[in-house]
Symmetry: C2
Subunit: 149 residues, 2 copies
Amino acid sequence: MLLTPRAEYALRALAVLALEPSDGWLPAKDLAERAHVPPAFLSKVMRRLVLADLARAQKGHGGGFQLARAPQRIRVCDVLAAMDFELIADHCAFGWQKCNEARPCPLHGMYSLLKADFRQWAERSTLAVVEVNALSKPQRGKRALRKPR
Amino acid sequence: MLLTPRAEYALRALAVLALEPSDGWLPAKDLAERAHVPPAFLSKVMRRLVLADLARAQKGHGGGFQLARAPQRIRVCDVLAAMDFELIADHCAFGWQKCNEARPCPLHGMYSLLKADFRQWAERSTLAVVEVNALSKPQRGKRALRKPR
DNA sequence: TTCTCAATGGACGGCAGAGTCTCGTGAGAT
DNA sequence: ATCTCACGAGACTCTGCCGTCCATTGAGAA
């Protein structure tokens, strides 16, 4: 896959929250189910999102999670950064410590194109583009990750 | 990083071979040193490239590796496929089994853009674009992965 | 105050992929 | 024929990250 599991889970969780009423709290259990994320692992992901000020958490009765800002103000690159996704631009595909336009490694040309594409995508995409109609019609035969007991 | 280590190593090795005279054989030891790839691991990578008909191998005296075709005929997507890099387009970022234009998941819109960008990059990039001048001036202070004993 | 719900934090286990090691195989040189 | 060089292939270890589990903290309800 193009993203790490953790980064993908974060986007899933935030997408679900973006489809919720902005003033309510969605418990982790429900969030995990709708976002198709392992419940125990989701807490790790959400913790990072809260620390990055992309989501808010509320303990106790009626608590849960909600977005910290409007969906259109949450960029994908912010989410990836919160997940420690290596967006670092100075990584050299050839393994050089110092690789730049002046002293390019053999792969510099092609790799720069990819990095630029990815960077643009991550900076321009926001949670505003989540498909609203999607969650209302669950897939046939699809089931929750864990059945309520 | 955006690629797996194995995929990146493959591109490094092929880039080095592309800069060699096309009729000669470059031993794995030299190849590993120039491409900055762990020597023992390089053999795994090269084996895949040979099986994918992207490189040729020659045993015995004066043997080594060479490209199986002209650099401009080796696309990045061919290399990634040989490394089992998941270029599979039907992966859904939201975890759905069936996710398409007709029934898009919440993340379908943004994720499709990324997949399209990546796919275009991998299909259009070839080894013809490796920087020729790069290898002739090694970085200051750079050293081989393993010193000869 | 007490009970219950729900996030928090840390310790733990498992697994896939990175990276190593060693013996086997084949090809050329002498 | 034999020696040496260099790839081939399998078993092996190690590491990082995914994922789980459980005790703790905090907040609201009764």
